[in-house]
């Protein structure tokens, strides 16, 4: 391979998917996966900031031990709507529906997903669900918590539980359709030469995610349908007064919602695999192990749901079985972390913004994962279950993991999506602020949790105040870290430097087409001849912006 250094000045392609067609109709009726990805991007960003607003209000209330800022009803609605919006309307669709939708077909060398109409339909269903969620908020909110536990939700609360249940069921169907599309596309639409062993790890992880979406979400749909019917018709399945068992709801809910947390982290892991290899300029360490660990996580993820219910009145025997199985799911996650770290060994590491996010992810996910082990350990879970320890744990995974990966991926593929670079300096600053703010917000909550502060408390005993104030202070830093990218991404749409086809000199089919790509992704069908991440063989190209 020649290593002659060439210098190129990037130019915008004349025709690409963004200027192929104009007007609102061309967006709302588009069947182009890239445009649908952008529709999703806009919608989930909206929900991210709504959910964030609720979080900010929650942290404001918790500055003082007395519940003095809001009524307890209002507070309960705040955390419920924060959870519901963040989980079902932001985290679940976040990476798959935006970055996945955009790059997955291109990575496969396909012209589109297998079912473009279903892809658009899934966005419309999402929007319909979102409207239900907004309607719920406007008409006074809902105070079930995002877990909707019966019989509280089915028989006691006076808020719009059915409305939000319908919204969540719709969001669920939208993710089922995304998952279905991905699975079929990965199986049936790969470019010539793109064998399973050559698939990018981002595809592997999205494939694993799709399996979960397809297999778990229907159970949530039927569970919430039962909940809605219980409220409307008193069918007695979850209502202890009529002979039902409220714990059954928890079983069925967590059968979805535990695998769902892997929906919310696996795609992030895929992004990190792409970022770490690219910015270490190295092949991934142990490709097969990283790829199969995604599948292992998806499969094992289905066997562990009752570890959310150790103190909920399940039998001690099944608690032990579920605890044992829970440790099994920790192993593939550990394998991934070790492999990413090993990938950096003897690499040629550069610290662009996406890499900063990736490194932040590895650190925060490690803490999040290991504290998850603590929660799966039976004897300790009794103390920390339903306390701030759990809150801290899953925010380390969901925010420290998924949101960080999402931002990293967004920075990484931003030039591909828009054809322009984001400004590097503020982006690095934002990454740093996010990391610091995040730890300041959530680390104190581990201690709070072990001290015994239960979650969903509107007022709390005064001895917890110091840690809560720290946490709230961190949240304000975190808010800055999240607002900054929104500003400079907007700015870059107009003023950002022209990116060129492959600003990161990355491998992968998505970098072989123009930025932004043409509507049909490639001008000619690509043929794959090498393994993924064949770094080291590529010619040296210096890109002058």
């Amino acid at each position: 391979m020649s290593t002659a250094v060439t210098t190129v000045t990037p130019v915008m392609p004349a025709k690409h998917y963004l200027n192929d067609n104009y007007g609102i109709r061309s967006w709302l009726l588009t069947k182009d996966h890239k445009r649908i990805a952008i529709l999703y991007l806009v919608s989930i960003t909206f929900f991210f900031f709504i959910g964030g607003l609720f979080a900010a209000l929650i942290r404001m209330e918790l500055l003082t031990p007395q519940g003095d800022l809001f009524q307890s009803d209002t507070y309960n609605k705040l955390f419920s709507m924060h959870g519901i919006n963040m989980v079902f309307f932001f985290l679940v669709p976040s990476i798959p529906a935006t970055l996945g939708n955009f790059v997955l077909p291109i990575m496969l060398g396909a012209r589109d997903l297998a079912f473009p109409k279903i892809n658009l339909l899934s966005w419309y269903i999402y929007i319909a669900g979102a409207l239900f969620s907004l309607a719920t908020m406007v008409s006074g909110g809902v105070d079930t918590g995002w877990t909707f536990y019966t019989p509280l939700s089915s028989g006691f609360l006076r808020t719009h539980v059915v409305l939000i249940a319908v919204g969540v069921i719709m969001a669920g169907f939208s993710s089922i359709f995304t998952g279905l599309n991905f699975i079929v596309t990965v199986h049936r639409m790969r470019a010539p030469g793109l064998t399973w062993g050559r698939l990018p790890l981002f595809v592997w992880s999205n494939y694993a995610t799709s399996l979960i979406m397809v297999l778990a979400t229907p159970v949530l749909a039927i569970t919430l349908t039962l909940l809605a019917l219980e409220r409307g018709f008193h069918i007695g399945i979850f209502d202890p007064k009529l002979g039902g068992d409220p714990v059954l709801f928890q079983h069925m809910f967590w059968f979805y919602s535990h695998p769902a947390v892997y929906i919310m982290i696996l795609p992030g892991m895929g992004v990190i695999s792409e970022l770490v290899t690219c910015f270490s300029r190295k092949r991934v360490f142990g490709y097969a192990f990283v790829a199969f660990s995604s599948i292992a996580i998806a499969v094992f993820g289905f066997l562990v749901w009752a570890h959310h219910m150790f103190v909920a009145g399940v039998s001690q025997y099944s608690a032990m079985v579920f605890s044992l199985l829970s440790f099994a799911v920790a192993i593939p996650s550990a394998v991934k972390v070790f492999n990413w770290t090993a990938t950096m060994y003897k690499g040629s590491i550069s610290l662009e913004t996406p890499m900063l996010y990736a490194l932040g992810f590895i650190g925060l996910f490690t803490v999040g994962g290991l504290t998850g082990i603590m929660l799966a350990a039976l004897g300790l879970d009794v103390q920390v279950h339903d306390t701030y320890f759990v809150i801290a744990h899953f925010h380390y995974v969901m925010v420290g993991g998924m949101v960080t990966a999402y931002l990293g991926g967004l920075h990484f593929w931003w030039p591909k999506i828009t054809g322009r670079m984001y400004p590097e300096a503020p982006a690095k600053l934002a990454a740093l602020i996010t990391f610091i703010g995040f730890n300041l917000t959530f680390f104190p909550q581990f201690i709070l949790g072990y001290l015994g502060m239960p979650r969903r408390y509107h007022a709390y005993p005064p001895e917890f105040q110091v840690l809560n104030v720290l946490s709230s202070a961190g949240a304000s830093v975190l808010a800055v870290g999240f607002l900054l990218p929104a500003i400079y991404f907007m700015w870059s749409l107009k003023y950002g430097a022209i990116a060129g086809d492959n600003p990161w000199r990355a491998t992968g089919l998505e970098w072989q087409t123009t930025s932004p790509p043409p509507t049909h992704n490639f001008h000619e069908v690509p043929v794959v001849t090498t393994e993924p991440y064949a770094y080291g063989d590529e010619p040296e190209v210096t890109i002058v912006h």
């Binding site: 309960n76 019989p151 190295k282 290991l370 009794v382 005993p461």
Partner: protein, 351 residues
């Protein structure tokens, strides 16, 4: 110091120290691996910083390493699992000689009843140094009995008795939280657990105004609902004799054997035909909606009491020192005996 920043809640029960030791072990593991990864990453960033005169060395991987870092975490997690499971087993299963207290949770308060009949709301007085078993039930939604200082937590379910137990070791007043979200005033459902020296506890019990012991209150209800019409010890009785029933295996009409525990008794009062004792007709009407949760507890306590020696007077159980050390045979032992002897509650008559 102006602010205290404690890292551990107080250790006020026997199990607290064990949970803390386990917690510390896990914190140590977490810290070790987090630091390991963090240090490696930082080291690599510095050492392998991109530079024009060096190219990345392409390494495909190492199966040996993969095996190593699969097996080591697996081994560690098995240690954690076993330790955690043993601890959990210990936390979940009360010893037989516990002091038994009953708790009813409702939106948004805790009501406790002591065996002597003393009641309290949002506070629970317990003596130091002996196991206390709290039998819990909810009147409405799911609540959760959580005493951080004791390291115990148990969801309190409607329609089913659950237990939590602990051995207090340190006098003081501790938080009792509801840690399962239960509606509007969830965060106000905070009670206190007051741990006292045994003599103070006895004094406190004596000062409380009790309308007779729980069992005697139960007996009153038993008469009121005319339970004695059928549940009599003589051979002409239409219902099973409840004498000596509690804690024993019972053979049902469909040949299943169940243990007559609190939940069985409760179920048999509320839906009597669900598990009918072999040899009896399902003639008992339901008491669903007739007896309150407190009433059910009292009747259960009375039935428990009937299990003891005939000679033991009912009102004698108002002080904790006289709690029996009951030696209920396990179901296995009972089943073994079934070859030659009949179950403890043998049906005396056919049809």
């Amino acid at each position: 110091m102006q602010f205290q920043l404690p890292l551990f809640p107080e250790q006020a029960s026997k199990v607290a120290g064990q949970v803390d030791a386990f917690y510390l072990f896990l914190v140590l593991i977490t810290t070790f691996f987090s630091l390991l990864i963090a240090v490696l990453i930082l080291f690599f960033i510095v050492k392998y910083r991109q530079s024009p005169d060096r190219k990345a060395v392409q390494i495909h991987g190492s199966t040996l390493l993969e095996i190593v870092w699969t097996v080591i975490p697996l081994g560690i997690s098995m240690v954690i699992f076993i330790w955690g499971a043993v601890l959990y087993y210990h936390i979940e299963n009360p010893p037989n000689n516990s002091l038994e207290i009953y708790g009813v949770a409702k939106q948004w308060m805790w009501k406790f009843q002591h065996p002597g009949g003393q009641r309290e709301i949002n506070s629970l007085h317990v003596p130091i140094g002996r196991p206390v078993k709290v039998t819990l039930i909810s009147q409405d939604v799911i609540h959760d009995f959580f005493v951080p200082a004791f390291r115990v937590k148990q969801d309190v379910l409607p329609n089913r008795y659950v237990y939590s137990w602990f051995t207090p070791t340190k006098p003081g007043t501790y938080h009792l939280f509801c840690s399962q979200y239960c509606g509007t005033n969830h965060s106000a459902m905070i009670g206190e657990v007051v741990v006292m020296q045994p003599e103070d506890y006895a004094e406190w019990l004596a000062s409380g105004k009790a309308e007779g012991s729980l069992a005697s209150q139960g007996e009153k209800l038993f008469q009121e609902f005319s339970c004695t019409t059928c549940h009599r010890p003589d051979s002409g009785a239409r219902g099973p004799n409840l004498q000596g029933l509690y804690g024993r295996p019972v053979r049902l009409t469909d040949n299943r054997v169940v243990v007559a525990d609190d939940n069985y008794i409760r179920e048999s009062i509320l839906s009597p035909n669900a598990k009918v004792v072999a040899g009896f007709q399902p003639i008992m009407p339901t008491f669903q909606g007739v007896v309150s949760e407190e009433g059910l507890i009292q009747i259960t306590e009375y039935i428990k009491h009937m299990s003891q020696q005939e000679s033991e007077p009912i009102n004698n159980r108002s002080t904790p020192t006289e709690i029996r050390d009951n030696e209920v045979p396990t179901i296995q032992q009972e089943l073994q005996q079934q070859g030659n002897t009949r179950p403890a509650n043998p049906p005396e008559k056919k049809k």
